[in-house]
Symmetry: D2
Subunit: 282 residues, 4 copies
């Protein structure tokens, strides 16, 4: 009973590229990190080491550089589709192309009250993301936001939950709610404005988070998803991941002091992890 | 058309615990990092904030501590199953329990040629892993190894691949092959010796990697998987991920020097990523 | 010849604390990570294990929490001084107290065009820093900025440098200049406005970086320091560290394409590291 | 009162290089990460952008590759001195050269009970380190070990310390002691066996840590330093840093269970930090 190859994929990860485009003295700059992964007819390479169907991952890297030059990179989505088309159309042995891109969030430096034309400051760890999965039949595209770190210092509680022999958590109607949001959404149609949706979904996440009277992380997460689904008809589904980065209230009574929700210890581990996907009825 | 909840899960991640057991002056010590995630009847908590079916993630954390005391933690697999059973059996609202554990690889310090009875040294970043997914119907268990960093300095080549307009890679019959292996396997039956299989699969990975005349990362990866499938009848499938951590040959001819595969630059990004799953015919 | 103890210090690192203060519904929130280190009469604890002069590091941690409650934490500098005074005044065995604090850079979320009163978004990796070193004779205070990631896409060149047998770098009058600034400054007097200086030195760094026609990282770094020294008489010295995070121009001619400073590969390693301290004549 | 340049240095950091040497089929492999920093007559470059005295950091990088070829790299110390000599002797404008190297700790893979001749496995995060500081007058060399992660599960206590209003720590005569050691030592003379000293100092650290009945981290740290000073006459001073990576005893009595030093939570932050330098009387 010989071993069989049940699944395989290969590619290049973390291909970083910066593209600068110029309109006179005004520079635009975008930074991407691209992951490429191919599936297809690669049984031979695994079994015999025959590489005649292997597009080297080094070539994938070069292709990202060349296609970043050729493409306008107006949106990360268009760049991902452009890359995916290239690899699918030029490699008959490939059945599926996966492209995943993270775009860094640079902003312009303000100098004397105005946006500078060629100087930029990092927008932090937040990334704009895009995944494309293309095979012979269709092309799926998913847009997203990653590592959006936010906190609210009130209007968050957690009560009425199960108590068992291992429960020590105290109910609270006023706690800190800190999370680092990852969101991914796909589309109901192909004729969408990627930048408009990215910017407005991001704003909807921030606004709902700020305004929501949270009874649980789950409820706030769902409220965000529900608002996105209700407001943006182009969005088919949205998946949201919201780790609960606990800020623990310190017991200051041991030192003869009151702690009226003033002093907290932020912690990285362990952390809650709350995830859900919201869609729309057909 | 109201938004619908299509999927959800929640839990606690990175619950770290060290357990010390004593046999006289001989101490055994194990360190785990546990992730727990539950799926089930949680529509209400998302829509209304009614938490009456919510087992708090803080309680999950406490449960890990308590069950680490109750269980022998002979193997990471038994501990994961013990945790999974607890959460499944005590929460009717839960349809699926997911437990993921990473075990750190501590070794005993040698003092005057002998293993010390209560002092330990880190085995590095390598982890032993286990995932359990339990629902009403069945319980799936997967064991693994993570972050096993290895290198061979010869008996690796890469030739005969596709050349296109973006190819710059030179063919080579002698290169460095560095990778950091992640492997996961499941089982053909329930009556298996987890420790024996972990130790022997790990040795098989190292031995095959060392001895293989590699024509590609894919071929070596498959050889490892094939050997595991052929030697260990208890293993049903094994998935292996082998990023190609490129060590680039430096062009020293610019400085009037030859570089006979002596001087390389190790790089972290971009890196190749080669993945496959090997199984057995039924 | 017995071993002698030539120097020692001990303390607690990464004591994280969030303080929320309320003015009606308006919340202010600050997040700090505090390092404390003490020097003094600790020979006995090292030689004999007599701990009677040891303030436990666990108590240092509790003290940070309690003093965060007691102090207004108007500025990171006042909080650092308050902590330092406490440890120096309450521990006769201590000759020197070192306090190092990193403050995270949270900003308010904008909701419907206005700053929200209790919701915040991370300002990224940038930190505001403060170091205090206090002994019987004096108290030194140093303020700073850490991990300010910036990039300019033109008005940076590098020419006229030494060429030797190992030179391969090409001269350029137009390159990308990316760096992550760390700056630290101390004061000519004790009566200074810490917040004003932090905000204005930060703006001076950004403005000078953006406007400077850079002939080298060194020249730009010095221009920043010179401007700070000239504009802010309260600043005695400023030390600046500017790693050169290279963005390498890709050779697209191999693919029959021109690369007119459009396509670059950002790299993390190796990186240049340029550091200098600027002061004022007495 | 113009700004003055009080100090400056520049160089290249994280220049990674792997060197493979062959004795027939037996391969030796070493991996280094090199930091270079120069001080000297660089006022002009800072003030005017005149780069005629600037050795580019890109050239420093190339020099590391070329000199890794030329040098035997028998020890990290010899390689660091070789690099330092090169930069000092070929650059009249340089007053001081700083070389810092971290060597990765690869070990041979065992195949069928024997060390394989060209396959290696990572020794973990532990690094062997070396710093050289060379000026016109002398050359200082310091060797070291970094990130040696160790734990003992008993024979460690902490009692008799100061109690004040912020004390909550309980005294204990039996706790876990986990630390990640950094040690650096210099030499009484120039005629030393670097490899012998590295290996034996490392063993002394591990042995003393394992065997010591610890009344405090300070006492154990000093015992290690004292033993090194007493046993190795070639060592002039040794500086040791031992963060106290707390493993906290969980209160299981809340769940009706005893915790006889069995179940602990390892934590990364906050952590203690204990540091000292031991020397010898003249």
């Amino acid at each position: 009973m010989p071993a069989i190859l049940k699944h395989d994929n290969y590619g290049k990860s973390k291909v970083r590229v910066v593209k600068v485009t110029r309109e006179g003295s005004l520079h635009k700059m975008k930074e991407f990190s691209v992951d490429i992964s191919l599936e297809g007819d690669f049984e031979d390479v695994h079994r015999t080491g025959n590489n005649e169907k292997v597009l080297p991952t080094d070539t994938m890297k070069n292709t990202v550089y060349a296609l970043a030059k050729k493409n306008d990179v107006n949106t990360v989505e268009e760049f991902a589709l452009y890359l995916s088309d290239h690899f699918k159309n030029n490699n008959n042995q490939v059945s599926t192309v996966n492209i995943d891109i993270q775009q860094s969030t640079w902003k312009r430096i303000h100098v004397e009250g105005k946006e500078h034309d060629h100087s930029f400051i990092s927008g932090g760890n937040e990334k704009r993301t895009c995944s494309v999965r293309q095979n012979d039949i269709n092309t799926e595209i998913e847009s997203g936001i990653k590592d959006l770190l936010i906190m609210k210092t009130t209007h968050s509680g957690f009560t009425g939950y199960i108590k068992d022999q291992y429960t020590t958590l105290k109910e609270t109607t006023d706690r800190i709610f800190e999370t680092v949001v990852t969101a991914k959404w796909n589309y109901t149609n192909e004729d969408v404005d990627y930048n408009f949706l990215h910017d407005n979904i991001r704003e909807e996440i921030l606004t709902t988070f700020a305004k929501h009277d949270s009874l649980s992380v789950q409820q706030t997460l769902f409220a965000i998803g529900e608002n996105v689904i209700n407001k943006f008809k182009d969005v088919k589904e949205i998946s949201i991941s919201m780790p609960n980065k606990h800020c623990l209230l310190i017991d200051l009574s041991r030192f003869g002091m009151e702690n009226n929700n003033e002093i907290f210890v932020p912690t990285d581990e362990p952390h809650g992890l709350i995830e859900a996907t919201m869609g729309r009825e057909k």
